[in-house]
């Protein structure tokens, strides 16, 4: 990477540029871009770039080579900007070309025929999005927002233009758009509910000053228990409890569904939240607090002017780790019948239908990354607001 400041020799940079420029053409030309299968459950036969992209191939490859090459060899904001635009253009051409190619490949086949993105297409898309983010970073733009907006805008445009309709993932999405919306809502409710439950619990535990050691031990120990085992154990324990005291069912308690899922997910969030809280508590050193008391500040003023500014970024950091974990763990909620995006993933696994798995998995990944970026941004903003 030619990122060192000062004079770097031209030849190595040129070599880096050339090798980066050949990377994507190699991926696109050597790996299959599409799989065409007689139905949604079989893998089908691979389709190489020349057949999948046809006339779109060379413009895509050329733009991608320019983008990646310029990113590796060039320096400065202007070069990064041009590289970013080239990568975005290449991504647009790749997606539109694949959509068009897929439409052509399945046009003469029976209705159940599916054209599915294959390894080359996924690697190409990932590389281009990665390069786009890197270019945004070099151009001193907010990385997450810029690349997310660019990719989302591009996808929305292609979707509305109908360019992607022939791809299997789009077919699957059209068939299940209602289920997907419900699943996303359930997933968010489960993750947020668990986060709220864990936050309340950590807040309460913090008041129990004497038990700090015991809390620390328990919270760390819970982390060791594998998630599948904790959920299974909770369901078993709840059903045993309900068998012993059936009247509890009247209070809405059940062995399957949201009760074990919420409890199980919340149990894992205790550690990051607890760590964040303890770090925030220790953020104000005794010296600061003594000085504040000597100045005659009241407890409330100390909280508002010293403890909060010093501790808030650390609290948000714990919250960020916990929120990302909550979104991931909520996937397992489907195992105990709590719904969420895991339902789609598990259905896809049961049917061996890759696109259904992806339909469940992609929103989880996008939600996690968005949460990570948003809370990371909030933490950075708090640090800027209250510099140490």
């Amino acid at each position: 990477m030619a990122r060192r400041t000062g004079k770097s020799p031209v030849i190595p940079r040129l070599l880096a540029g050339i090798s980066a420029a050949t990377l994507l053409p190699a991926v696109l030309l050597l790996l299959p871009l599409l799989h065409v299968a007689p139905n949604r459950l079989v893998t089908g036969v691979p389709v190489a770039a020349t057949d999948a992209l046809e006339a779109w191939l060379w413009p895509t490859v050329a733009l991608a080579a320019i983008g990646l090459g310029l990113l590796a060899a060039g320096r400065g904001k202007a070069a990064a900007g041009i590289a970013g635009l080239a990568c975005l253009g290449a991504l647009a051409l790749l997606l539109a070309g694949l959509g068009a190619g897929a439409a052509e490949l399945i046009a003469v086949k029976p209705l159940a025929t599916r054209a599915r993105l294959a390894s080359g297409a996924w690697i190409g898309i990932t590389l281009l999005i990665g390069a786009l983010s890197l270019a945004a970073q070099r151009a001193r733009l907010p990385v997450g927002v810029t690349s997310a907006a660019a990719v989302a805008g591009l996808l929305a445009f292609l979707w509305n233009a109908g360019s992607l309709d022939a791809l299997s993932l789009a077919v699957e999405l059209r068939g299940r758009s209602d289920t997907l919306a419900t699943a996303i809502r359930d997933h968010l409710v489960l993750a947020l509910g668990a986060l709220a439950l864990a936050a309340c619990l950590t807040g309460g535990l913090a008041l129990w000053r004497r038990g700090r050691g015991a809390v620390e031990l328990t919270v760390n120990g819970l982390q060791i228990v594998p998630a599948v085992a904790l959920l299974g154990g909770l369901v078993a324990a709840l059903s045993a409890l309900l068998a012993a005291a059936p009247s509890l069912r009247g209070y809405g308690l059940s062995a399957l569904g949201s009760t074990p899922a919420l409890t199980g997910v919340a149990a894992y969030l205790l550690l990051p939240l607890w760590r964040g809280q303890q770090a925030a508590r220790r953020a104000a050193c005794p010296g600061h607090l003594d000085a504040a008391r000597a100045l005659g500040l009241t407890r409330r003023q100390i909280l508002a002017t010293i403890r909060l500014p010093l501790g808030a970024p650390l609290l948000v950091d714990g919250m960020r780790v916990a929120a990302v974990q909550a979104l991931g763990l909520a996937t397992l909620g489907a195992l105990v019948g709590a719904g969420g995006l895991g339902t789609l993933v598990f259905d896809g696994m049961a049917q061996f239908a890759p696109d259904l798995i992806l339909l469940g998995a992609l929103p989880i990944i996008v939600l996690s990354l968005a949460t990570e970026a948003a809370l990371g941004g909030l933490e950075a903003a708090l640090r800027r607001r209250w510099p140490r």
Partner: protein, 248 residues
């Protein structure tokens, strides 16, 4: 003898808890809880077989993850590769956004049912935390220690072997503990992809209401995690004790 005992006691708590959980997963104990009609506790032989599979798969994954993760971490901390350091955290954040279930699920169509998707998920999910842990552990070695080693004429390899690795041992053991817990946990998830592990009775039990088997699977999986954790803690304590003895 007095030097060894504190080393072993560090791992004693998790180890005893693990033993207790393992004992609780015995069919006679589990049968007390699952009294429903569909509850059929697994016999000890079947449980032992599943535990052996689980252990083999998790150990294989852990071995690959530790070799690759620690190896890459060693590379990343050499001054020559300093320019890659900034991107590690970004990649870690990205890798953690994909939960292990999803990795297992996505690997399923490519690799088929059973062990391979589980192993792939373990690799994909375990390498980045191990790499970051290794980098963190090696970063905690003070520059003074490195510079004085250089000043007395040690080669880079000797500095790594005699200064950096011993000083970073505690952090490295912590990293391996995290990797081990991940390995046990992801292997349990692998049951969803048809791998025969201790997760299997949990997943099957959820489907056919076999509460006793589900509880047995859960207890045994947790027992395995705690036993492994205790073992690594003891090893870590032993390494620390050894170091102190040589330092004295």
């Amino acid at each position: 003898m007095s030097r060894i005992s504190p080393a072993l006691t560090t791992g004693l708590g998790p180890f005893l808890l693990g033993l207790a959980l393992a004992a609780a997963s015995h069919p006679t104990v589990a049968a007390l809880v699952g009294s429903g009609a569909a509850s059929r506790p697994l016999p000890v032989s079947r449980l032992a077989e599943l535990a052996l599979h689980h252990l083999t798969l998790a150990a294989a994954g852990l071995a690959v993850v530790s070799i690759l993760g620690v190896g890459l971490g060693l590379f990343a901390t050499r001054t020559r590769f300093a320019s890659f350091r900034g991107s590690i955290d970004t990649v870690v954040a990205f890798a953690q956004a994909v939960p292990p279930v999803v990795v297992v699920a996505l690997a399923l169509p490519v690799l088929g049912f059973g062990g391979p998707p589980t192993l792939l998920a373990l690799l994909a999910y375990g390498i980045m935390p191990t790499l970051r842990g290794t980098v963190g552990a090696l970063d905690s070695v003070s520059n003074e220690a490195r510079e004085s080693a250089q000043a007395i004429g040690l080669t880079p390899g000797q500095i790594l072997a005699y200064v950096e690795l011993p000083l970073a041992a505690k952090g490295l053991v912590e990293t391996l503990r995290t990797a081990l817990i991940l390995a046990v946990s992801v292997t349990a998830v692998g049951a969803l992809a048809g791998a025969s592990t201790l997760g299997t009775p949990i997943v099957a039990g959820l489907q056919n209401q076999n509460i006793a088997a589900m509880l047995q699977g859960a207890l045994a999986t947790a027992a395995l995690a705690f036993l492994g954790d205790g073992l690594l803690l003891a090893i870590g304590g032993w390494v620390q004790g050894n170091r102190q003895r040589t330092a004295d």
